[in-house]
Amino acid sequence: MRRAKKRDWSWLAGYALIALPVLIMVALIFYPAVLALIDTLFVPDATTGVTALSLSNYQAFFKDRILVANLLFTFQVTLTAVALLFVIGYPLALYLRFSKSRLASVVQVLTLFPLFVPGVILAFALIQFLGSHGMLDSLLHAFGFTGFRTPYLQPQGVIIALVWESIPFTVLVLTAGLRQVEDAVVESARDVGANSWQIFMRILLPLSLRSAVIVFCLNVIGIFGAFTIPYLLGPAQPMMMGVSMQQTFNNYQDRVGALTQAVITFLFCAVVGLLYVRTVTRGRKERA
């Protein structure tokens, strides 16, 4: 590393150039998050008006059956969707990594396609596609299958849409991870008689673990904090936390209540978020 000996002001110029985005990030991410914590933890006393440290907002949240049901529902949807994403994403990534087919590029474009469909449009499209008397219903009807029950306004509908939305990111990052494993490694394993499953479990998965961890973390955080899809496609009860927060904030004008829910999602995602930041940091160090 070259130290700035010739021009002593160069570090200052560096700070000057990065000051604005760092300031925006602190003002619009860290400050609101810390303020949310303070606002929900320091509660003014009803009679004296003196603010004191109190967990009463959080106690109120966990006493509210509807809110607890919302939190549990959010966990369920997140875990199911993330598991499905791995089940769908890994085979596709393996195909894209190893296929020598000329059609592989078509498959790649198809898996990337959802990246170019914004959430609100996806919600509308899936209602027309999956809704009762929608396109899928008609397709199944054409094949003689009746008795289609729509997942629209059901938990399944939310899960389908969230998985749909996250496939490109999942496949993209998993494929990038698998590309870091060299062909020679795979071939030599095959030469000593390893079958495909063993190659995947013993070689490909461990060697591309970092990308799998990143996929896991960002999918968990993304789905846990989702709003548009569960708001437009999900059941009215239970709601996912994003919808619950929006209702509390807009419909009930209960800002502290909404912040309490926000902080609870922060705390859960903090574990996963730290894992994500650590994984990326380590990856960059190894590469450097």
Partner: protein, 280 residues
């Protein structure tokens, strides 16, 4: 006949190999393209009755009605204007910073660069609610500056990480060679460095523009009731779906910029630009 059988073998091998691709393509096409195709068909349907697989009666009779909607006429210029403003601001704020992150030495550089990952490490909607509460105190709710600010947050990671990795990827010996033959620093930057990073920079700008154009959640919670973008308008159209064609036509128009971006997709993937935006 050994020749024939080896040809046959090769053929079945190809069929088997391509067979997987074909099955994948059919499955993915149905699941991924199917919903969007349905929207496009609805946009050009006058009547569509179940269980017909295509519109019962084709036509564009809903187009004039939809395009004449007052809310649409207000929302469309607003969305475009917001996306342009946010993208330009984000570029002005972030691109010099990404140059600094890639090329300059200052204490804490790596840590500060990594700190932008925080934009991904928070559950999005919880963060928006916290920001909205701050904006409430600053009277930024329902204002255009408020929406611009909340949308800029979304662009930071992409607009810093993609250009930073591009600047880092530039071979320094090229620049030094140009300096050696007497080119000025400014000229080296404009004629050597910039052309090399331009594809990544344009990818970052384009992705930022499109993602801002479609950003709905931040605009919903901060913008309402005064600022209604196209994407926010979709919420109410979906929730009060009386006539499917309205939503279909608006979705179709709204989706066009993204469709154009899609044609560039292959190039981004090859350059791994998108992955860099996730911090991979």
């Amino acid at each position: 006949m050994p020749v024939k059988s080896s040809v046959f073998k090769a053929l079945t091998k190809t069929v088997r190999r391509e067979g997987l691709s074909v099955v994948l393509i059919v499955a993915l096409f149905t699941i991924i393209i199917g919903p969007m195709l349905t929207v496009v068909l609805w946009a050009f349907a006058d009547v569509w009755r179940y269980p017909s697989l295509v519109p019962t009666q084709w036509g564009t009779s809903f187009w004039a009605e939809t395009l004449a909607r007052a809310d649409l006429a207000m929302a469309f210029p607003l969305s475009v204007g917001l996306a342009v403003t946010v993208t330009l601001l984000s570029a002005v704020i972030c691109l010099p910073a990404s140059y600094a992150f890639a090329r300059m030495n200052f204490p804490g550089r790596q840590g500060l660069l990594l700190s932008f990952l925080a934009t991904n490490a928070f559950p999005r909607f919880g963060l928006y609610v916290s920001i909205a509460v701050v904006f409430y105190r600053l009277n930024l709710i329902g204002t255009i500056p408020g929406v611009i600010l909340i949308q800029i947050v979304n662009t930071l990671l992409l607009m810093i990480w993609i250009p930073t990795s591009a600047f880092q990827g530039v071979d320094r010996s090229l620049e030094e060679a140009a300096l050696d033959v007497g080119a000025s620093r400014v000229r080296v930057f404009l004629q050597v460095t910039l052309p090399l990073v331009l594809p990544s920079l344009s990818a970052a700008v384009l992705l930022t523009f499109v993602s801002t154009f479609y950003e709905a959640q931040g605009a919903l919670i901060v913008g309402l009731p005064n600022v209604t973008t196209m994407a926010v308008l979709m919420y109410s159209i979906i929730n009060s779906q009386i006539i499917v064609q309205y939503g279909a036509i608006i979705s179709f128009i709204l989706w066009l910029p993204s469709l154009i971006l899609l044609t560039f997709a292959q190039r981004f993937v090859r350059g791994n630009a998108i992955s860099a935006g996730f911090g991979v």
